[in-house]
Amino acid sequence: MNSADRAATSFEGAGLRFPRRDGSRVPFSAFSSPEVYALEQERIFRGPVWSFLGLEAEIPKPGDFKRTYIGDTPVVMTRAEDGSLVAWVNRCAHRGAEICRLPRGNATAHTCVYHQWSYDAKGNLLSIPFRRGSKNMTGMPEDFDLAKHGLQRLRVDSYKGLVFATFSASVCGLTDYIGPEMGPYVDRIFHKPVVYLGCTRQYSNSNWKLYFENVKDPYHASLLHLFHTTFNIFRVGMRAKCLADSAQGLHSVVLAIAQDNLGAEAYQQQNIRSYDDKFTLEDHSILGLIPEYDEITTNHIQTIFPQLVIQQIHNTLAARQLLPKGPDHFELIFHFFGYEDDTEELRNLRIKQANLAGPAGYISMEDTEATELVQRGIVGSESNSSVLEMARSAPDEQHSLISENLVRRFWRGYQNLMGFKSEEDGGA
């Protein structure tokens, strides 16, 4: 028996009903209910999605491995001796111990410490100590078949160096999953080999979907993050692009497009423009922007549901991995990277601009503050709903940052995956 099953049962009766069909009202219990959370593990994370595990650049050599998660389930991504990517549940086929005990490392065989069952990098069971017994001792039954007791392997694939895995045998291939709308934007960032620069981790006391809403919500950007405004940096002529995938609407990309190639100097010159007060940056290099793509954007924020957010902010690049940790917590891992052919100047700029994004980032630290404000604000109001109306009358508008279209689109896709009806549809 399985706790998700039980939750499912209770939900078949009770149901989480969304007041409207268009995703514009989200019942707050979606963010706090343990039953919803358990069901998400089954229907989303162990269901028909591809979950981001990490970058190929994290495990460049055969045997390199990294421990991570799909939803709550511990998994390992590794590179087999033949160079192929592999992922398996980090649970010994014998009695269930975590096999891989280090966050990262290199090994072509993995031996469980408990009874030393040993597996190859692909998760095949290689050997069992005393399998044939010893002297008068019996060992494993004759019919015990090593081949049937490997680790639980996942379908794994990589797209331009991004590694994904799925528990689902039926979900479409990864490229189709990313889809024709999102593909080109992933390609934009991952068009050439990347180098891993390390990660920072952030732990938030709020539901993982609040973060998903956040990165699909360009409306908050200039209102919550006041860094640019405070330092009187006008982003003149900023154009935007906001797209969702047409399949489920769970992926999306938000671009802020610079009209000119603005370098640090250009920003500096803007100091003559000012608001009410006179704050200026003493060191402008942090806002430098060395052009490196056909279309120059200050921000490229792209979600590939459910565990990935691709980030380009000026010249700092990161793949953010989103991991749910119970109904009211999530972990967010910023995997920073550069390109193999970075100049030293560009690489240094990427590192300096890590000050912009990440747990201490000038224009990102407020995001977890905001999601936690929601998590605390909704306590006692579980039967109320949020109100997502911005640009609701213009669902096809794609050039506006003043919009909650992507968020509403997300909730429609979520309802669909979870099997949650809308009251407008007579949802039970």
């Binding site: 390390g198 920072t200 590192i351 890590a354 000050n355 201490a360 503050e369």
Partner: protein, 161 residues
Amino acid sequence: MMSRVEEALLRLDLMALQDRYVATLDDDRLEEWPGMFTETCRYEIIARENEEAGLPAPLVYCDNVRMLRDRVVSLRRANIYERPAYRHFLSGFACKRVEEGSFEMSCNYVVVNTSLRGESQIYQAGKYFDLVVDTPQGLRFASKRVVYDTSRVQTLLAFPI
């Protein structure tokens, strides 16, 4: 004995510098914080996992004192966060003279933070690796590298460590 006294005084001076440093942060006197560094200082907060893997990704990275002052202005004027109530604690102090007027210093730190609802928690533990120089204005940090163990940063990091 004189040299033992000199050595003891140096050690005490460096410990007192570290004490002043943490008191400056814990008393929320951020504006005085950049003044404890040299103009060309390095200030960095980096996860131990990156440090040990030789990876450069920082949590905070400043390569001159102007960046420190910028951070203070940003924290005071731009960023939105629950005001921290840090208390730093230090131990395992070590120091050595690397050349005339220049000293390496290291120690453990733990920051206990208290939330607005009144609960005190360990916010971050790690180790300081400092380079201190003697200047006409007194001892200043030429470099302060904050290598933190607590890789899961709770909610966000606003104030320096």
